[in-house]
């Protein structure tokens, strides 16, 4: 019945929505940033534990749609162990993939995150997927304690 949506709602997204990874408060977090999408009311708090410029742990709390929950869940899995520079590079790739500026996505570099490429076809949903990454960007730059997509 929802055949048209198969690219947007892949099984991996349903899985992360049902069982989000790293969904917990981190008491000893070094960085804690809130992300907010006023358009739909999605809210998340991202926690990072750093060792120098390396992310050694990432977790989140909050409520959002399946796309935004899956996006932040996948992100916390992937950035764990990355340096700030690696995570920022991935954010850039992810941004290009979801906003459709890049014709050819480097599938190897983007890895599991490719399941979110489908949002490109749904302009109203791009921010659902990118909220997590904008929040991470703010956390890494250590500039602000809350960000908004608007």
């Amino acid at each position: 019945m929802f055949d048209d949506l198969r690219d947007l709602y892949q099984e991996v997204i349903f899985d992360h929505n049902r069982n989000p990874r790293n969904f917990r408060v981190m008491e000893d977090a070094d960085r804690k940033v809130e992300g907010f999408n006023p358009l739909c009311g999605d809210r998340l708090t991202l926690f990072l534990k750093m060792d120098g410029d390396k992310i050694i742990d990432a977790s989140f709390q909050g409520s959002g749609c399946a796309i935004s929950t899956a996006s932040v869940s996948l992100m916390t899995e992937i950035v764990k162990g990355q340096t700030e520079a690696e995570a920022e590079a991935l954010f850039k790739l992810f941004h290009e993939m979801t906003t459709g500026k890049e014709e050819q996505i480097d599938l190897e570099a983007i890895g599991k995150l490719a399941v979110l490429a489908g949002v490109r076809e749904y302009p109203a949903r791009v921010k659902c997927a990118t909220l997590a990454w904008h929040t991470l960007d703010a956390a890494l730059k250590n500039e602000e304690t809350s960000i908004s997509t608007e």
Partner: protein, 407 residues
Amino acid sequence: MTTFPVEKIREDFPILKEKIRNKPLVYLDNAATCQKPQAVIDSISHLYMHEYANVHRGVHTLSVKATDRYEGAREKVKNFINAKSTKEIIFVKGTTEAINLIAQTFGKANIKQGDEILITAMEHHSNIVPWQMLCEETGAVLKVAPINLQGELIYDQFESLISDKTKLVSVVHMSNALGSINPVKKIIAAAKLKNIPVLLDGAQAIPHMSVDVQALDCDFYAFSGHKLYAPSGIGVLYGKQALLEAMPPYQGGGDMIRKVTFEDTEYNGLPYKFEAGTPSIADVVGLGAAIDYLTEIGMDNIAAYEAELLDYATEKASKIEGLRIIGEAKDKGAILSFVLDKIHPHDIGTMLDSLGIAIRAGHHCAMPVMDFFEVPATARASFAMYNTKQEIDVLMNGIEQLIEVFG
């Protein structure tokens, strides 16, 4: 079943024949904005093709024709809401501008430090923010009457918030997020006992019921054209003549003046005092055409048919496991706001869109209402006179399917 001619009405709305993602359009986002009948579309083309010029300023034939059309529409609005005089009908951009106009003119002239403005907890942002801005400027205080879990105003508490300091009561006639219809007659009667003017935000109410401003005895009534099957960018502020006359003007410019020198300006009379600049002429004409169209169908017939639609949708929705209706007021207009267990409204919106169904997913510009019900957002199906029970079946079937997919 009434004999409401819904199939005939659907023929009048060309957009209802559109296919969305290869499916017939099921348009259930009418509380956001309504679609337009051919009569409204034609009235605008006709004006531009045959009768268009600026109003109130030319002696030439076209200007006279355009002015006749424009002022003719004002007469239609006056009759539609049963105002006493066309002087009481001010054309504005929409409900939001109407409320801002009251805040900036009546508000600034009459509301001082320590005074109170009384609203309800179910207001839309446009009946909250203009008052907050006024309070910030003047030092007045915004009071908010609470609602209960059904989404109804707690009337006793509302009444107890009316005090000698209250200088204006501004309440929504029908809530856009919940569908609740406020007991406006009681509200107005209570305010009258202390001579407090009452502004009704009629943006949602006006397309769903007959509104008689004299019977209501409200002091101001605001509504938008685009929710009344008319173009967007046009709305109406009704105000009692004596109040409007005592108010300072809103914006300065052409049309709102009688005489201008560099030393002094004499303002025009009502309603022009509040209509500076060239107005949205074609949209006003479109509003007049929409009113003609609705008058022919009859607002009471529309209200009865929509009540049937809402009952049908509510009954169907109540049978879906995991669906919670937000807003269960006893007196309610044709709006069905709901949430589903573990499925975010945004996902519901995208899923239903893929079936050709347009609903609203979000906070409906009523964030305090969302906070009260402890939901980030709701999905909202809002019905109009051109919707059918069969469309409600399509919606409910879609909801059941998406629950299964998310499972």
